[in-house]
């Protein structure tokens, strides 16, 4: 990489993080609202995490809403039944989702392609039905309400996150931590092995690499980070419902990733931003927003299979 491109890259990421840091200041002026920005970051964590498995390891998981929803219920139920502590809620939710993903990972780690996708879909639905039917604890179909994110106590200071803009910075901090973790993982030997599995699984097998264990690791880590996003989502709305576990949400995560570009680290975030804004806008202008979203799916698949960043990247490569 030339010095010019490197400084361009540093400048780009500085602008990116600065824009995120100041988002509550400018988002309202361009027609958005702070909670929308928070939601983009929350879904962004989930989509980037799922992409570790989908884009980098090549495992087509269509059931990631399970970990998202488990995180959400874990956080909500901690606040409601256990203790009014936001950090504890985030921790419990993330651990619950992460442990579930880790335990169920061995069921899928040796499967490929269609089989992998189908089993993850079905596993996701298991948790959906538990949430719907176990209604005296989970609130059933109506969802889990009656909890609220509690103020953060940092030493002698109290940071009241009731306000949307203040909670945004909590989410941004988690987002930054998650991004750093994922970047470090992808730069590590583990991350390189994931990409190698995607590119040529059989060759790796011949080299004696236990690919099932690496896929398990990808599944567990991806599930844990998705659960973290789920906890933040429950705290954002002070509410969670079985919809957070439903396969439609799993599908939405996947389409967001494909829309942005699944071969690029930041692709999913772009997809999330477009998808969440489009969904927000469409549901306010038409009752048939489901049809609109469905058409979006069809058009993306037929016309932009490489995603937006993928298309830009290809052009950049040709120029270089």
């Amino acid at each position: 990489m030339s010095a010019a491109r490197r400084s361009l890259r540093v400048a780009g990421s500085a602008v990116f993080w600065l824009a995120l840091l100041t988002l509550p200041l400018w988002l309202t002026h361009v027609g958005g609202y702070t909670a929308l920005g928070t939601k983009i970051l929350v879904y962004g964590i989930a989509a980037l995490a799922l992409n570790l498995l989908l884009g980098f390891t090549g495992g087509l998981s269509f059931g990631h809403a399970a970990w998202f929803g488990l995180g959400a219920y874990g956080a909500g139920m901690t606040l409601k039944y256990l203790a009014p502590s936001t950090p504890l809620a985030i921790l419990v939710g993330t651990v619950v989702g992460g442990v579930a993903a880790t335990l169920l990972g061995p069921l899928v780690m040796r499967r490929r392609g269609i089989y992998f996708a189908m089993i993850t879909i079905a596993i996701g639905q298991l948790f959906y039905f538990i949430a719907v039917r176990w209604n005296n604890v989970t609130g059933g179909e109506d969802g889990l309400a009656g909890f609220e994110r509690a103020p953060l106590h940092i030493g002698p200071w109290v940071y009241d996150i009731h306000h949307d803009a203040k909670y945004y910075y909590v989410v941004l901090a988690c987002f930054a931590v998650a991004v750093v973790i994922m970047k470090l993982l992808l730069a590590s030997p583990l991350g390189h092995t994931w990409v190698a599995i995607r590119e040529n699984r059989r060759r790796l097998q011949f080299l004696g690499v236990r690919i099932d264990l690496y896929i398990w690791a990808a599944f567990a880590i991806s599930g844990t980070l998705t659960a973290l996003a789920g906890t933040l989502n429950a705290l954002l709305f002070n509410f969670t419902s079985p919809q957070d576990l439903h396969w439609i949400l799993s599908g939405n995560f996947v389409i967001m990733i494909v829309l942005g570009g699944m071969r690029k680290f930041w692709g999913p975030l772009i997809g999330v931003a477009i998808f969440v804004v489009a969904q927000d806008y469409l549901s306010s202008v038409t009752d048939n927003w489901m049809t609109a979203i469905g058409l979006l799916f069809v058009l993306i698949v037929l016309l932009f299979p490489k995603g937006l960043l993928g298309m830009l990247g290809r052009r950049g490569k040709e120029a270089a």
Binding site: L54, L60, F62, L107, R110, R111, R112, G113, I114, Y115, A117, M118, I119, I121, A122, I123, Q125, L126, F129, I130, V132, R133, W134, W247, I248, G251, V254, I255, V258, D287, N288, M290, T291, I293, G294, L295, L296, F297, V298, I300, V301, L302, P305
Partner: protein, 289 residues
Amino acid sequence: MQLLLFNAFNGLIQGVFYALMALGLALILSLNSVINMAHGGFLVIGAYLAYTLAPYLGFWGALVAGPLGAAVIGLVVERFLVRPLYKRPDPLYTLLLTFGLALIIEDLTRTIWGAQGLPFQIPDILNSSVSSVLFFITGYRVLVVGITLLVVLGLWAMLRYTRLGIRIRAGTLDLETVSSLGVNIYLLRALNFALGCLLAGLAGVLAAGILGLTPPMGSSLIMPSFVAIIVGGVGSLVGAVLGGLIIGVAAGITTTYYPAASDAVIYLIMLVVLVLRPRGLLGQEGLFE
């Protein structure tokens, strides 16, 4: 005891619907390599078409026309949306495409026919009980089981003895070789897709007579059908039927003892099967991986 029989029989009827759905899904999965998330949508199309046409064609006419309508729409979808994706080997894209279609079909059904449930009229003669002790065995339910039995046997004979059936089976094993032998595999795949949609439409019409019509009926039946395929073994049509019946009856029996778990038990069976027999009851080694 009678309650147990009652629930088990209800479960069997549910299992029949799962089996019909799973059979179509498995056909499309094995020859078209498509996880058809829109399969529930074709079920809904079949059911609502039958509902709309029943006043003109009568019950029996609608029973035929509904599934045929679903098959025709399936042909159109295959030709214009699925076919361009065959050249991309990753199942991701067809999965997302049919997922989008599922959303569109459910939403448009709601717009056209309304969100509230509609009743599907069946002839009075079918509503009466066959036996006074086993009051729950109505003529219609016998009909449902009978038609399904006929269809499954017919499909088996078709796949076993006709030229088309033999080509479909050969295509699931090695599509390239079949193609190089001069078979038009595009036509073969199109017919196979339509056949799968026909089965989904049939399941829809039959289910409408018992459950009534609602726009989300497809999405509530498709997930158990996936489970039926996984339990029965991906790649095995007999397995798909067997899986559907097993989970249907199991859910029915669970209703007797612990109704709240009747949905979750389906997925628990799946997990147990996956642990004990990772490829499902009748799955084949190495297929679809």
